[in-house]
Symmetry: C2
DNA sequence: CCAGAATACTTTAGGCTTATTCTATTTAGA
DNA sequence: TCTAAATAGAATAAGCCTAAAGTATTCTGG
């Protein structure tokens, strides 16, 4: 069902070693927050790398393409490019490129809207089938990667990250407001 | 002290919106692990984006360049390219490019070793000064971004992520061993 | 000693991401 | 109405990252 992108048809290669990663190098006098941040980063990168690798090896696709299709699967009515941009937390120009590819592969389509500046992007039938197949495996990878925690620990981690998220949102948003010093 | 890369001298632009991000779109029937993974990803991206932005706006540099210098600062004796690659969890070709730039900017130097295939990469004096300046601010950004948690919560989160990390390491490493089916 | 394997690094091609700039269209205000 | 601002998307240039292939050097076992 997937029309594999030839450029992605490669065999798995040696991933960067892991004996002593970025975080391991943290010194004892590093601030708690710094250590925590480095560990968050390491965890995310480990998982993300694993998923990217699986997507490439098993489905000849990439995480951004999977992500975009995943958004569309959640919104069968279609999404505009800027909605995809917001939800995927990437810039608009990026969406243009990824969508172009998925359209070329027949997995996604652009439909004109009454607002002639915009499109509604939807999964095609082939795209829906391909995504369903990938999503099933994707979930098993994630479940496996996070199966080192108990149900209770999952919940605790989710809660702590909720706090991190909301605080980071506030901090970042507050600074994105221009300090209207003059004028 | 920093020799700014002209290509990076840009004003801050609109970051992708955040009203409804990737994770918010998770459906109630999504598996716990999936929700947790999406939240981890969102948190990391929020923080990382913030730091990248600050590095660009305030120091006209990038996170990978900062990261590389940070590794060197922890190892004044110098590191070989492949050591940098391992520690930063990126491929070797990548290190070549980033090092080339930092050398060109006078922040880092390659020294020949007795093993003539390899180099020892070190911070120059200018690089050390530039890094110290950046690291001070960097830490305050991170502290600020993670200040939504109490000291206790920091410790809990660090512990939970330690579990995630070690399990992900095992999972990923186990699969990278080729199943010697024949031959 | 010496041929083959391993290691350290570089190069290349392709994809992702960003910030910026541009075009087309829509909206809103005088 | 008609012009200015806002919005949607595309195009562009530069950096990051990867996988794969290439080059030089070192190591190792016969």
């Amino acid at each position: 069902m997937l029309r594999p992108n030839p450029a992605l048809r490669r065999t798995a290669a040696r991933t960067p070693g892991r004996a002593s990663d970025r975080e391991t190098a943290a010194r004892p006098d590093d601030h708690r927050a710094l250590r925590l941040w480095l560990r968050m980063l390491t965890c995310t990168q480990l998982i993300e790398r694993h998923i990217r690798n699986e997507l490439r090896v098993r489905f000849s696709t990439t995480l951004p393409r999977f992500d975009l299709m995943s958004q569309l699967e959640r919104h069968p009515e279609g999404l505009k490019m800027n909605e995809l941009s917001r939800r995927m937390m990437v810039t608009g120009g990026n969406i243009t490129g990824i969508t172009d590819q998925l359209v070329k592969e027949g997995l996604v389509e652009r439909r004109p809207l009454s607002d002639r500046r915009a499109f509604s992007v939807k999964l095609t039938r082939a795209g829906g089938k391909a995504f369903a197949e990938m999503a099933r495996e994707h979930e098993t990878w994630v479940v496996g990667l996070l199966s080192g925690l108990t149900r209770r620990e999952h919940a605790d981690l989710l809660g702590l990250l909720a706090k991190v998220k909301s605080h980071a949102l506030i901090t970042t948003d507050a600074e994105s407001v221009e300090p209207r010093t003059s004028e």
